[in-house]
Subunit: 357 residues, 2 copies
């Protein structure tokens, strides 16, 4: 029952513009202490679970070079290139098939590349537990204990506790149901009630089990994957026909109804690094509460987020401000309006200023 780690690194997004660009989404940015990227950290922290030889990174064909730059130790054959992004169900189906080719008994931990986890020990413990449960045939997800009534996330409702007194049953529950992006009142109720966890998109299953679930719930995708397996040379043409659908919506949300999905609860110090306001989640603060990634000089500044991939960022006399600098673009926005970076990106798109996107 060998454990394999599959890191999904194909996501796009410009929520961390101007550092993140269409061609360089956040998993490739050196945001962490010492300039580590989120992708490199995602691979590194799975080290206790699977050696690098059993670690696979799935990414867009156009981003393979970026993956190699971030994780130079990754064996060449362990990058699976999607001909184009088709959302997570095809991505996971393709990766699972690639792993199953090499190891028929593989149990896969499929994990995002663009999240931050502070408590890596808890993570490894939860993942090891999930792998044991998955090895017995279950589909398992890791649920994150919520720390605030966030409306932008998906929630997992806990069902009955897993049967048995064994170590792997502790903190494991049936999944009662998934709820995507609740309203504020519902989210507050979820957090207060203590029966809901955040869905961080971390799933663990045997390769043959996920193949079976895809065949059952997404038969069109199942047939495409089978065709790709028989004619790997036609990957490009075939994969482009795959339905654009997430593994959550296409598969996972169908499973709780049959009482057939397990969640392992974990307290991870987790962040999705969803905007510049989240930089303080992932990097130590200076004495005045400023989070800094890159070269900065802060005088009489408090609670700021200062990031750069080159230029010196010098601030004086400002508070709770985001300043992000690259050689060709600079962003300044109050921390509590960090989501408004999308207004800049939309304006640039409307002006067709592609060099800045």
């Amino acid at each position: 029952m060998p454990a394999w780690v599959v890191i999904m690194a194909g996501g796009g997004g410009t929520r961390l513009w101007p550092l993140s660009r269409r061609s360089k989404p956040k998993q490739f940015l050196p945001l962490l202490p010492g300039g580590e990227t989120l992708l490199a950290a995602a691979v590194r922290r799975c080290g206790p679970i699977a050696p690098i030889e059993r670690t696979v990174v799935v990414t867009a064909a156009s981003q393979v070079a970026e993956v190699r730059r971030c994780v130079p130790a990754l064996p060449e054959g362990n990058v699976v290139a999607e001909p184009e992004g088709r959302n997570t169900a095809p991505c996971i189906g393709l990766a699972a098939q690639e792993v199953e080719k090499r190891d028929r008994d593989a149990v896969l931990a499929v994990l995002p590349s663009d999240q931050f986890i502070r408590d890596e020990r808890s993570f490894v413990r939860a993942l090891a537990q999930a792998l044991v449960l998955a090895g017995k045939g279950q589909v398992v997800t890791i649920g994150i204990r919520p720390t605030r009534p966030e409306t932008g996330y998906g929630y997992i409702e806990l069902g009955e506790a897993a049967a048995g007194a064994s170590a792997e049953a502790k903190g494991a529950f049936r999944v009662a149901r998934f709820t995507e992006k609740p309203d504020a009142q519902t989210a507050a109720g979820f957090v207060a009630g203590g029966h809901h966890l955040w869905n961080g998109g971390m799933f663990v299953f045997r390769a043959d089990r996920i193949r079976g679930e895809i065949d059952k719930h997404l038969p069109e995708l199942g047939k495409l994957l089978e065709a790709i397996r028989k004619q790997p040379g036609k990957l490009g043409a075939l994969y482009r026909q795959a339905p654009k659908i997430s593994i959550d919506y296409g598969v996972m949300e169908k499973l709780p109804a049959s009482g057939d999905m397990t969640v392992v609860e974990a307290d991870l110090g987790w962040s999705d690094v969803g905007s510049w306001a989240a930089l303080p989640d992932v990097t130590p603060l200076d004495g005045a509460g400023n989070a800094v990634a890159g070269e900065a000089l802060a005088i009489d500044a408090r609670g700021c987020v200062l990031a750069s991939d080159g230029p010196l960022v010098a601030v004086v006399g400002v508070s709770d401000l985001v300043v992000v600098a690259t050689r060709d673009a600079v962003l300044v926005v109050p921390k509590d309006r960090a989501q408004d970076v999308k207004k800049i990106v939309e304006a640039l798109e409307a002006q067709r200023r592609d060099t800045h996107l």
Copy 2:
């Protein structure tokens, strides 16, 4: 009585950091509409007074190339290079001597390169008037009607009105005295009283007259200039021995006592562009009161100063903020603390980060 224009472009200064650097002070920055530099504007607006052939720019030897870039039409021989900066008295003495070599009867308008004048017609009118008065042998300065009780400037106290009913006497007064940087109460009194003007460092005189005044008040400098005149090949070695002294302190402030100095009053829409907070003085504002020099994108931003010599400056949801971007450094500071850029410069100096200075 041919008029010559001498523009002093040797000043340093980093008050507009990070655009201004030791090697590129503010007179060389494209701050004005259409990307015009303050130096280019200073030369251009004197066009009605003297043709480019009778315009001379004095600058540091290290900045000659920058001068040529800003004023390509300037004849090659019309850049006077100071071997090193020795303040304005040696600078003006050297320039006046160079002009007098070519034209014994020259009347010189000696003007700073790093100021902004909105009302160019008033300026030309005042300068023409000053040249007539100077042609008759007087030392003349142009005094700027003050618009606020600024404590950082020098003031000129008006004496009796110039004698006569001729056109050149209108708005001309004896200078009663110079006062450097008054305290706030004194400055307020000056502005309310209506008998004081700002000293903008604009002086007009015959070449032989200023030579005589230097010989009288700064005899050491006078002797050095005479030696340079006789041995121009030794300019470098000799000029470095010149006393570091301003023309204001060394000569001009001595003249009112003898009743021998005239001021022409003018309302110029003048700015010394002394900090980034002054950018709105020199550039049109957008509909939300933002002053922009370079490429910027302002969404829901008011009263900001946005400047760049390359990178796109994108701001969302901020007010009264200065954001200045270059390829290697970015400054963010509230507009009312724009003077604090010097704290950044001092910190960089302390850290010996010369590449950013």
